[in-house]
């Protein structure tokens, strides 16, 4: 047990922080812990969590994905345009757009892994190019409303549970297996710790890097479609907030931005913390400016705690989890 705690200290801390936040919020706004409110909190956190899944993989591999906002936004807009409010086209539109997200991820990954372009620049470039292309495509006009099926996926319920929460749970299981049990996970942590050492140890570094960006493209595109269902229609700029929140969720979840450590289970807690904070501030009568200040303070606090552990213990795979 103590070995588990030592190894996953940052993840455990993220969950502890989440519980404390929940209790504090409940203190100020007694209705916060109600079933309906918890349900809507989990639904909102799920969007952050799904986008942050790919971001977690990329960051563990010592990269960063800034193309998330417009991959998300592009998938949302193109889905709304292609479906025109109908359910049936989703059968081919969804796979098509997930493949589209994967393709953008592939471009990012190849640029980073094969051409040595710094991740910040590569993903920044694909982000602005996508942004421009979508603006040209739509001419800035609003798009048709979301199909009913996608609305069911993001706001519907099965046996009292929000469908999107179940989707998130399933994705969490898949990500955990990939990181903790699969060869991909071992390769990824090795790559993030030291690309050179990993390369010489026979880790397929290029393939692993590309796979992280492909995952990020897919999760961002998927989140974009779900978010369209949630808000009823796709609109320009809907992905902008997810750049900051996806990176913040990963950081709060205990991953090092230098790569080689962290786990998606931590990111899940990070996504919850960010969403609970969003709910806490109206209860305290604070403005959105105050929310940004609190976000910044929480990030600083978490990375400081993380940094202390880095100084204290020397293990490479600390915080690797499960």
């Amino acid at each position: 047990m103590s070995a588990f705690l030592a190894r996953n200290r940052l993840i455990v801390l993220a969950y502890a922080g989440m519980v404390v936040l929940l209790l504090v919020t409940a203190l100020f706004s007694p209705g916060f812990l109600s079933v309906s409110n918890m349900r809507s909190t989990v639904v909102l956190a799920a969007f952050v969590g799904i986008v942050a899944l790919g971001q977690t993989f990329v960051i563990i591999g010592a990269g960063i994905d800034l193309s998330v906002p417009w991959v998300l936004n592009s998938a949302a807009i193109i889905m709304a345009l292609l479906c025109g409010g109908q359910d049936l086209p989703l059968v081919w539109v969804m796979p098509l757009l997930l493949a589209g997200g994967a393709f953008i991820g592939l471009v990012n990954g190849v640029g980073v892994a094969q051409f040595g372009v710094p991740p910040i620049i590569m993903t920044l470039a694909t982000n602005v190019i996508l942004q421009g292309l979508i603006l040209v495509l739509t001419g800035g006009s609003p798009t048709p409303s979301a199909p009913a099926l996608i609305q069911f996926l993001s706001v519907g319920r099965v046996g009292g549970f929000p469908v999107i929460a179940l989707i998130w749970l399933a994705l969490t299981l898949v990500a955990t297996v990939l990181l903790s049990k699969a060869a991909f996970g071992r390769h990824l942590y090795a790559l993030g710790t030291s690309a050179t050492v990993a390369e010489f140890s026979g880790v397929p570094t290029a393939r692993t890097t590309i796979l992280t960006y492909v995952t990020s493209g897919i999760t961002a595109a998927f989140a974009g479609m779900l978010l369209t269902g949630y808000s009823g229609q796709a609109y320009l700029g809907m992905g902008d907030a997810y750049l900051f929140t996806s990176i913040a969720a990963v950081a709060i979840g205990g991953a090092s931005i230098l790569g080689g450590s962290g786990h998606y289970l931590g990111t899940v807690a990070g996504a919850m913390v960010l969403t609970i904070l969003t709910g806490l501030l109206p209860a305290l009568n604070l403005s959105s400016g105050a929310l940004l200040i609190v976000y910044g303070a929480v990030i600083l606090l978490t990375v400081s705690i993380g940094s202390e552990t880095f100084a204290g213990l020397g293990s490479r795979f600390r915080g690797r989890g499960v």
Binding site: I64, L66, G111, F115, G116, V117, P118, I120, I121, M122, L124, A125, T126, N127, V128, I129, Q131, G132, L133, L135, V136, G139, G140, F244, I247, A248, A251, S256, I257, L258, S287, S288, G289, A290, L291, L292, I293, V294, Y295, G296, A297, I299, L300, V303, S304, S307, F310, A311
Partner: protein, 343 residues
């Protein structure tokens, strides 16, 4: 002593020529490869200006220079600070928050009384310096990653800006807005500022501090071992970045005449992009402000080009993304060639 160590580390960089060991200077192909990213940026700018000039009359005039420099100056100031941080091997995302905060303070505190306005303007610059220095301290003392620290301070500064002025608005005195059209010898103040920035860099990179910053960016460990205080380097680089961001905010208010709690985020990544287009390496130790300023011109003039080509203005981000990719690919290809020549 520090300078002696620094010499060993800037020899492969696009560093001050006088610090290069003798011998490599004679190899012109090596020198060209060294400066390839900068040359590619110059080529791009020349190409853009040529297309722009052939489609629009009056491009090759002092008026056009004045106009374009004014349009690019906010980005140039922000990118100057970013260049110093990038050369040190860091990154500063908080300039977005600082620019927003600077504009809202100016728009809510400036009055028609010049002395009040001057005091507040100085206060904004001092605030930028102090917040930047704080970034540097946090990074050093808590051993944190610049990306996350400045992401956090960006959020905090942006929050403070939103509390001071929740939506775009406020105003600055009329004479303040007139600053950018003030002329001397036919050139407006932004053009003189551009020259001042180049002079500043020419002086700064040869100073002890400038050399130390570049040496730390090339190899932090060697710099530390040769007696450089990394904490001091971080405080000074991020402090300067904050100062230039505050300067960018002040200049921006002369263009917009108002404050905006969200405008700063439009300068964070473009400031990095301008530097990268101009040949500044994200890995530290390598780069020149002249490149960054050309990069800022490239990014600004794409807007003019899209306008005269009569295509949707939405093509502007597409074009800047493609140019960014081409520049960075050019530098990595040049680097590979240079490396294979060495081997």
């Amino acid at each position: 002593m520090v300078v002696a160590i620094a010499e060993q580390h800037v020899d492969t960089a696009q560093g001050p020529a006088e610090l290069r060991p003798a011998g490599t200077g004679a190899d012109w192909r090596g020198r060209v490869l060294d400066r390839a990213p900068f040359l590619v940026a110059c080529l791009m700018l020349a190409l853009i200006v040529a297309i722009y000039g052939s489609l629009q009359s009056g491009v090759f005039s002092v008026d056009e220079l004045n106009l374009d420099t004014a349009a690019a100056m906010t980005l140039m100031l922000a990118a100057t600070g970013q260049t110093i941080v990038l050369v040190r091997g860091g990154i500063d995302l908080s300039i977005g928050g600082m620019i927003s905060l600077g504009t809202v303070i100016a728009a809510t505190r400036f009055t028609d009384d010049p002395s009040t306005t001057a005091i507040w303007a100085l206060a904004i610059l001092a605030l930028g310096l102090a917040i930047g220095a704080l970034n540097g301290l946090l990074i050093s003392l808590l051993k944190l990653q610049p990306f996350l620290v400045t992401l956090a301070t960006w959020s905090i500064l942006n929050g403070v800006a939103m509390i001071i002025l929740p939506t775009d608005g406020g105003s600055v005195p009329t004479w303040w807005v007139g600053f950018a059209s003030a002329q001397l010898f036919g050139l407006t103040s932004p053009v003189w500022m551009l020259l001042a920035l180049l002079l500043f860099w020419w002086w700064f990179r040869a100073t002890r501090t400038g050399v130390i910053i570049q040496a730390t960016g090339s190899n932090e460990k060697s710099a530390f071992l040769s007696g450089v205080s990394i904490t001091w380097v971080n405080v000074i680089t991020y402090g300067l970045s904050g100062l230039f961001a505050a300067g960018a905010a002040l200049f921006l208010t002369t263009q917009t005449g108002a404050g905006s709690p969200t405008i700063g985020k439009d300068y964070i990544l473009p400031s990095v992009a301008a530097a990268v287009i101009g040949g500044v390496s994200l890995f530290g130790g390598r780069g020149h402000l002249a490149g960054t300023l050309i990069g800022a011109f490239v990014l600004t003039l794409i807007g003019n080009l899209v306008f005269v080509l009569h295509v949707s203005s939405y093509w502007q981000p597409v074009a800047s993304g493609v140019i960014l990719l081409l520049s960075v690919l050019a530098s990595s290809v040049a680097e590979k060639l240079a490396r294979s020549r060495v081997q």
